[in-house]
Amino acid sequence: MEPVIQINNICKTFKVLNRKTGIKGAVQNLFSRDYKEIKAVDDISLTINEGEMVGYLGPNGAGKSTTIKVMTGILEPTSGNILVNGRVPYKNRSVNAQDIGVVFGQRSQLWWALPVIESFRILKEVYAIPDDVYKKNMQMFSDLVNVENLYNKPVREMSLGQRTLCDILSSFLHNPGIVFLDEPTIGLDVSMKSKIRYLISELNKEKGTTIILTTHDMGDVDALAKRIIIIDQGKMIYDDNIAHLKTFFGAYRTIKITLPNEQFDGADEEKKAKFIADITSQIIAKNEKARNIHVSLDESELSILVPEAEVPLIEVLSTSQEILPVKDVQIAEISTESIIRKIYEGNESKSKLLSSEVKEKAE
């Protein structure tokens, strides 16, 4: 397999004005030369091979979009090397553009006032798509998702889901080697999400398109990505396949305890938070090794995340049974979502472990 994206030690710093607040500060801002530098991307290296489907994750403001913009040629990196399809994207933006497709979930590239088929026709000209390729792709699109009935609908009258569907299709129209999907399922309902996931995965399979997917929806990750890359504060903290992520954190399991319904009728957030804190301290009091458990409450279901390397699950379970009015109990494997959340929330030790491991691999 050929690497289609090759990034070595990319950094991107932005100069941001140190803004002062208030009227006096706002006036000072007009003349201020007081800039600070923000490292949006800090020494990221990665290689993506042809046909891969990569989930690119990170909390808000982690630098995901910046990296995507560097890869698409919109941004010029401050330092480091990047090759996309063997070209430096920011130097050959137009040529690079011919070989990539981009969907920004929150912006549409379709012509607002026109029926969507017109947008497809325009893009056919923009990318100089030959007639036979265009026809073949349109045929494939209608085989995959039944969209012909949408073609004559103006984009502004479409639902968000229909529009996203068409946006994704339009980004595959010119047979790009790489497609960047930036939060494609944002704001969509469950059935539309699954339709879009199906579409993306089929397009990846049938066309062998490399897909870089950024998302906050772990459902997308579970359904689509085999490999995930996590960045936080501009640094790469994880790059491996998704199964590995699960085994790495596999030592975690969650106890889900159903409490009597009436217990939290009308209880406010503050009361719930107090309850959680209370339960946590009680469990820790009885079981010293359990100090890294994480308790959360959803309706009348209490979840306790247990690091099994430190404390046996069964001990926490029996303690909980003593102090809580347990109605039902369930033990769950950790979901991708909670792993990712743990990483985002700055689980320092784990992050460090991961990043040191990444480094080891690099070496």
């Binding site: 913009k69 933006r93 137009s94 590239q109 006032a113 026109l114």
Partner: protein
Amino acid sequence: MNSTKRELPFRRYLAFSRASFLETLTFRASLLLSLGGSLIYTAVVCFLWKSIFNSAGTEIVNGMTYPMTLAYVAIAGAVTSSMTIYLVWDIGRDIQSGTIALWFVKPLDYFTMNLFNSVSVIVFSFFINVVPVFILVEILVGWQIPFGINILWFVLSVFLGVIINFCLDFMVGTICLHTQSIWGINIMKEVVVSVLSGVTVPLAFFPDALRQVMMFLPFQAIFNTPLTLMITPNPSTELLIRSFSIQIFWIIVLVIAAKSFFKVSSRVITINGG
């Protein structure tokens, strides 16, 4: 970039002309309203200039007769309204919302794309606005405006004026990349253009010294040149050559200026993010 362009010169951009034309047709009401506005404006300037000429007491003021003046001012109004396509706002919005990034990831030149986008709308809007206003003016002045080869020179010259106006608009829009705000600058540009181009008052009415200065600016090449060609029954070859060469000169200068300004300014995006 250049290699792909050479294969298909401008073909990919024609799709934009077609699309913006279709988009304009979608909004029928706004077309009719713009025509209504042009007709009302014609009626207003008709009465205004009638009273100016009446109070002057002579047939010819500053070398222009009443029918010439009315034709000049009314048609200038109609041409302005067909050229008003809010390009500056569109570019400003693209920049403020970050949508411009979507254009950066397409194999397109932003300047050329916008030019093709605008021209088809303006050409269409020109027929909607200028033809009826021309007929109305002819009725008001009793068919005294010549109708012959001068109309051809006028149309040709308006077309060149459209491109000059486009370049100015594009540059003003590009300023948004630096300022993030476009309102004040655009208002200023509109006032400057409407005064210095001769739309509000024909250039013949300006003091000599000021007129000399204005002749050296690009603004008069947008409106004054085509309108002068229209109301001149038998333009000399010298006038034609001078008019068109000045317009073409400005087009060359402004296209280069607008493209380089945008190229330099887009560094703001590539360096500092959208």
